[in-house]
Symmetry: C2
Subunit: 137 residues, 2 copies
Amino acid sequence: MDKTEVLRFVSKRKTAFLASVDESGYPVVRAMLAPRKIGDGELFFSTNTSSKKVRQFLADGKACVYFYRRGLFKYRGVTIAGEMEVCTDQPTKDAIWRFGDKLFYKQGVTDPDYCVLKFKCKTAEVYCDLKTETVEF
Amino acid sequence: MDKTEVLRFVSKRKTAFLASVDESGYPVVRAMLAPRKIGDGELFFSTNTSSKKVRQFLADGKACVYFYRRGLFKYRGVTIAGEMEVCTDQPTKDAIWRFGDKLFYKQGVTDPDYCVLKFKCKTAEVYCDLKTETVEF
């Protein structure tokens, strides 16, 4: 797999598993909806500014995003290590806003509790059929 | 939810998402088969002694295990923080060995590349319907 194939695989998944490191040094995992936008080695997620993950990423940007597919005979998993940036600027917020988000952010696209997590991919580990390969971004 | 309900929820999941922290301080997530055994606030997984996760947990036992269920209308996620112990002693290895494991560990239950990850639950965060509750173990 190369970078493009990794991002193509990512673009087909419905769920992302996002990990941060908390203030005590423990990893923290939670499921997220698929990235809203996939750029050149960057994944964009929407989230609540008041959430724990935002607090954790502001203190330590080191992050991991995991995607997997469980086929009938074949399992594939992609673990991507990288840096997370919390974006509260309006252009970035505008770029990934969707109409339905009003349900979660009452004030709409300018809601201060709506922000964007921008993940910069560094290294991906692709696991398939008991074999692992590394892809650098 | 209380401790027992959290472990009951865990016992019904087929996949666990396990996170460690690597030597550079990055969280690392990977999917695992469901725990082989669930004890009193402890989850047991089988794995390869030579795997990266074992190396990471020997250096830093801080761990997270995540489980989720996506229902038709309802999503539920459980993030458990705790300590991981790598067990290579024969009684622990015997306790969770299954016949089919021979496929992965040619030397059987005494294979030095077969070991057990014993996760001691500390705190669970249960997410359901946009609400979060904390359960202490």
